[in-house]
């Protein structure tokens, strides 16, 4: 009888949790490394077209992003034609110039001539709005542009 009682008193040894911080840190580091930071919250559909003659966008130099596409499901009230998004809000073509100027102010002076404008445009957008934005960029002398695309067979873009 006493035999059984003694066992009960001993109970289960506590699980050693000394390595828990290690595991947590490991996960933290993993997600820190693997996460791609999104520059802006998108309010538009932004499915990029594919191309195979692509060059990598060099992050060594400053990059500004201009998004275009039709408003996504939550923003249907803004219509269903392609619109421009600068930073976190919808914008008009006339605001592109001011946007570039304000972007330039945030970079060191010697880097300003290297500013690349990355155009992230939905594949369904039409060229009218793209042409207008390009014209605005020329007006403010932001001539280096990059049509950001996915990597794949470009011929699949054409239906």
């Amino acid at each position: 009888m006493s035999k059984f009682k003694k066992k009960k008193d001993g109970g289960l040894p506590p699980v050693n949790t000394a390595s828990l911080p290690d595991i947590v840190f490991m996960l933290l580091f993993f997600f820190m490394v693997a996460t791609v930071m999104r520059e802006d919250t998108l309010k538009i559909q932004n499915q990029l077209p594919l191309a195979d003659q692509v060059e990598k966008l060099d992050k060594k130099y400053p990059v500004s992003y201009i998004y275009m596409g039709k408003p996504s499901a939550n923003y249907k009230k803004f219509g269903n034609v392609a619109r421009i998004q600068l930073n976190d809000k919808f914008a008009d073509v006339s605001e592109v110039g001011r946007f570039i100027e304000s972007e330039r102010l945030s970079y060191r002076e010697e880097l300003i001539p290297y500013l690349t404008v990355s155009l992230k445009i939905d594949k369904e957008a039409n060229m009218g709005i793209v042409g207008d934005v390009k014209q605005e960029l020329r007006k403010v002398n932001a001539l280096k542009i990059n049509y950001t695309t996915g990597t794949g067979d470009a011929l699949t873009n054409m239906k």
Binding site: G10, L12, P13, S19, F30, V54, L57, N126, I145
Partner: protein, 203 residues
């Protein structure tokens, strides 16, 4: 019987396992990087200087209409044939001044790659996807010729088995151990011999 508690599990090596996993993921994860087609817009030119007169045979017109249909040199064309047509045009070498051209030397096509201009016009209703497809094919045409030229002159300069794309990548790559200045010279020479002259019509 003597009192005996279950022995404690040794967790000292847990940290090692954690770090092992951490390093494994660090090595295998690639961070997504944006890529795309780089272009340079022409500056706005207010001067009243007459543009130079360009012979019609040196211009390769590509029209993209609102239904995403292609018209190349006044002939309808499928997008898959565009690359080949553009290569033929650029590589023609009509005036014989281009020693590295392998084209037909037809008198009705471009004189040499330096004079050859591709003119792209699109409609406001053209879809962006189609525009990118056309841009991609035209860039590809230039790359085909540049790669070919790189394979011709590369070996003489000590860069064998390297096409133009690879040369550019190596030039950017900090881990590449070759002679970067010499490589830059070769890249510049190819760029000069086969310049990308792609003009876009703005209404």
């Amino acid at each position: 019987m003597a009192k005996r508690a279950a022995p404690e599990v040794n967790a000292g090596s847990m940290a090692d396992i954690a770090f092992l996993l951490l390093i494994f993921f660090l090595v295998t994860t690639t961070i997504e990087k944006d890529s795309g087609i780089n272009r340079k817009l022409p500056p706005i030119d207010d001067s009243e200087v007459e543009p130079p007169i360009i012979k019609q045979k040196n211009i390769f017109t590509v029209l993209l209409n609102k239904n995403d249909q292609l018209l190349v040199e006044d002939e309808p064309m499928q997008i898959k044939d565009l690359r080949k047509a553009a290569v033929e045009f650029l590589d023609n070498g009509g005036d014989g001044s281009c020693s590295y051209c392998q084209g037909k030397k037809s008198s009705s096509s471009s004189d040499n790659p330096d004079k050859a201009i591709i003119s792209l016009k699109n409609d406001r209703e053209t879809s962006y996807a189609a525009y990118i497809a056309v841009q991609n094919e035209l860039v590809a045409a230039y790359n085909v010729l540049r790669n070919r030229r790189a394979l011709q002159i590369g070996p003489q300069k000590g860069f064998s088995d390297m096409d133009f794309i690879k040369m550019q990548n190596n030039h950017k790559d900090v881990r590449w151990t070759g002679n970067k200045e010499k490589l830059k010279e070769v890249i510049d020479q190819i760029k000069l011999e086969i310049p990308q002259k792609l003009s876009e019509v703005v209404e």
